[in-house]
């Protein structure tokens, strides 16, 4: 945060009759990572006000879900956090399973965790690449990140038949058995991913200009972050080890050993670095899953009813999405459709901190701060 001395500001205003300029960044702007718009009021290079506008990607996810069968609505949920569709599928399935009281076979749980962690890695790769481009490294970081993301998506295609929106999970399990050579392919992929993280780490982390730009920029303390409802890597960057995978273990996360990387002061660099370190941890999780996974077994209980009918029930489940706490509230009142579905999207809540962090910084930093929030517009606008 740049603080201008009070007397300087007032004397300047007295001397020149200056007017703040309004700059419209987005919805078509390379820095907004989607169709997000922020209107900046700038005094020269300094941002004095910031007003975010959202809703350009609103598709009525919740209403759509309420008008579809429990299983039909699966596909919509991929498209919320479209960089890590499987994490969203996981949360939706957990909600429906909790409503219907289903049990997920153990093998299916392991496969789910592997796929969710792979999505997390691909989403974080996307962040690293795009953030590097925001800082201005002319697409090199983007190209590095994209290479690894393509490899992960290739594996998704092999497993589920689709790259971005696999629709691979079902309430009660998963749809398809893994391909023959999955384990070998996955281990090979993990090696490549580790190399990819090393590459990006070498390109960005130690770079003097990168550190100069990112360190001490818009630090956030833990109390303020909690008050704003921030979760995920941004909250962990402030120093609090709050990860739903550890704090409220779902699926089989209580059986796995992994660490929660935390930052020190919640500045942009910490947010970057927490995500970078998390990717290593995801690799660890996948390796453990590959080793512990039952080699045979059910992936979806064949005795499940063709159409799910759920009596009066409500639940709120949450999992650790790539951007933070991805919560699903579901209310059933009988019938084949949920009466109400509500998504607590982490990107939307994280975005609430934008104005506070941007005001008082430079225009160039506003772009960086928005990038560090790592929003996905599909999730913000639902």
């Amino acid at each position: 945060m740049t603080h201008w001395p009070e007397q300087l500001v007032s004397s300047r205003e007295a001397e020149f009759d200056t007017v703040d300029m309004t700059i419209n960044i987005g919805p078509q702007h390379p820095a907004t990572h989607g169709v997000f718009r922020m209107v900046l009021r700038v005094d020269g290079e300094l941002v004095t006000d910031c007003e975010p506008y959202i809703g350009y990607l609103h598709r009525g996810l919740e209403k759509l879900t309420e008008n579809h069968d429990y299983r039909q609505a699966m596909g919509w949920w991929d498209r919320t956090d479209y960089l890590a569709g499987l994490c969203c599928e996981g949360a939706y399935c957990m909600a429906v399973e909790k409503l219907a009281g289903m049990q997920v076979p153990e093998r299916a749980e392991y496969i789910r965790v592997i796929m969710m962690e792979l999505s997390r890695i691909s989403s974080h790769f996307m962040f690293l690449g795009a953030f590097g481009a925001d800082v201005g490294s002319f697409g090199t970081s983007f190209a590095y990140a994209w290479r690894e993301r393509e490899r992960i998506y290739d594996l998704f295609e092999e497993v589920a038949g689709d790259r971005m929106f696999p629709t691979y999970f079902r309430p009660g399990g998963i749809t398809m058995e893994l391909p023959e050579n999955f384990e070998a392919r996955c281990r090979q992929l993990l090696g490549q991913i580790r190399q990819g993280i090393e590459d990006l780490d070498g390109l960005l982390t130690g770079n003097e200009i990168f550190i100069e730009r990112c360190c001490n920029l818009s630090p956030l303390d833990t109390e303020r972050a909690i008050a704003l409802g921030i979760t995920g890597p941004i909250l962990r960057a402030t120093g609090l080890a709050w990860d739903i995978r550890k704090a409220e273990p779902y699926s089989i996360y209580d059986r796995l050993t992994f660490d929660i990387p935390v930052g020190r002061q919640g500045d942009i660099f910490d947010r970057f670095f927490v995500r970078l370190s998390e990717m290593y941890q995801s690799c660890r999780i996948i390796e453990q899953c590959l080793a512990d996974m039952p080699k045979k077994g059910l992936i979806l209980d064949p005795k499940l009813p063709k159409t799910l009918r759920i009596d009066k029930k409500e639940c709120y489940v949450r999992n650790e999405g790539t951007k933070g706490e991805y919560g699903v509230y579901a209310l059933a009142r009988g019938g084949t459709k949920p009466y109400r579905m509500k998504l607590r999207s982490p990107s939307f809540c994280n975005l609430s901190a934008l104005r506070e962090m941007v005001v008082g910084n430079y225009v160039a930093d506003a772009v960086l701060i928005l990038g560090s929030l790592d929003i996905v517009l599909g999730e913000v606008d639902k």
Binding site: N24, A31, D134, V135, G136, I211, R213, K246, P261, A364
Partner: protein
């Protein structure tokens, strides 16, 4: 052939012929620089770059140029008409004027001025006017920000640029570019003035607004800055200016610090070798610029300015002072070399001062806390 003997006996016919040759060479060079940059950057990013137009994409530059020439020339309604339309030419002409005095080989340039270096400084300063015109005349806020940023940046960095070159001029005792090259026939000036070279290279990147100083055109912030509203031929004029000035600066820098056409063996092996030297050295410069561009992120405007005024400017002044003492008292030239080397080491230490404090990976990743639920 030398500067004394004009083509066809008339100096003005001679000048026109030489200018036409320089412009022709420049155009072809720029076309292939854009192609080369795309290929080079593509290799860094694990891509192939242009491959379709001609063998390994060799005609891509010409295809792009043709496309740009035939595109619609759009002028925004709230643009200041004459300022907007004249801006690309006001930016380009100073660069062309610089190319006129550069010695490409012994006795070969358009004109050799005895105050060539001074002329280059003077003319380069005019470049800013065109960019300001583009920024202010376009009636676009991104362009305005870009234009103002460019003005601040280029005016600031011109000072260390000029001072670092003056350090060389002091040792050479002349501002004549041809003589400066000739003086380095056996030992380029970079050995005597490494600090001046570092300052020159930094300031040059800034003057060219290439990464990490591409603040006026920052694509991820102000989407092209002052060129944002230009299209078709006017946009291509800016592109031409960018690459032509990169080429011009590269030749200028290689003449002043690397002996231009003269080092090594320039005098012995004839004009073909001299031309080859000029192109090899400027090519190496340009490759270095592109390498930097693909690797490093962008600075912020305040960091850029403070780096100029607090680091580069004092260092270049100290360099001038030390040179003055050494030359005045006739100390051996090794003293020049050593002091400048010490300065260069200091400059690098200043740049890397953050690197010392950078968070070590093991420390941060190892600092896990036990996961705990806050009340």
């Amino acid at each position: 052939m030398s500067f004394g003997n004009a083509f066809f006996g008339y100096s003005w016919i001679d000048a026109i012929i030489r200018v036409v040759i320089v412009i022709g060479v420049m155009t072809v060079t720029v076309v292939y620089l854009t192609y080369g940059e795309r290929k080079f950057v593509a290799r860094f990013q694990q891509r192939l770059g242009p491959t379709r137009t001609g063998p390994i994409g060799l005609w891509q530059g010409f295809a792009d140029a043709l496309k740009l020439l035939t595109k619609e020339d759009i002028r925004p309604t709230n643009a200041d008409r004459w300022v907007f339309e004249f801006a690309p030419y006001a930016t380009f002409i100073p660069v062309l004027m610089v190319l006129i005095v550069l010695p490409f080989a012994r006795d070969w340039g358009v004109r050799n001025l005895s105050l060539g270096m001074l002329y280059v400084f003077a003319v380069l300063g005019l470049n800013i006017v065109g960019i300001m015109m583009a920024g202010l005349g376009a009636g676009n806020k991104f362009a305005l920000l870009g234009g103002v940023r460019a003005a601040a940046q280029m005016i600031s960095y011109e000072i260390p640029l000029v001072l670092s070159l003056l350090a060389v001029a002091m040792i050479a005792g002349t501002l004549d570019l041809d003589k400066i090259a000739l003086l380095q026939a056996h030992r380029p000036f970079i050995l005597l003035q490494p600090l001046a070279f570092l300052i020159f290279a930094t300031a040059m990147l800034s003057e060219l607004h290439r990464a990490p100083f591409d603040i006026p055109v920052a694509e991820s912030e102000i989407v092209g800055g002052f060129v944002v509203e230009f299209s078709g031929i006017r946009w291509s004029m800016f592109q031409l200016t960018e690459y032509a000035s990169m080429w011009g600066f590269s030749i200028f820098g290689s003449v002043i610090f690397f002996g231009g056409w003269a080092f090594p063996k320039g005098l012995d092996w004839g004009w073909g070798w001299q031309l080859a030297l000029t192109f090899i050295k400027s090519g190496a410069f340009i490759l270095a610029i592109m390498w930097v561009r693909t690797t490093v992120p962008r600075l912020r405007i305040d960091q850029l300015m403070s780096f100029c005024w607090k680091v580069l400017l004092p260092l270049s002044l100290v360099q001038l002072l030390v040179n003055g003492f050494v030359l005045e008292y006739g100390w051996p030239q090794e003293v020049l070399s050593l002091t400048s080397l010490a300065g260069a080491a200091f400059l690098i230490a200043v740049i890397f001062r953050r690197a010392v404090r950078r968070p070590s990976k093991t420390k941060l990743v190892g600092a896990y806390r036990q996961a705990q639920v806050p009340e």
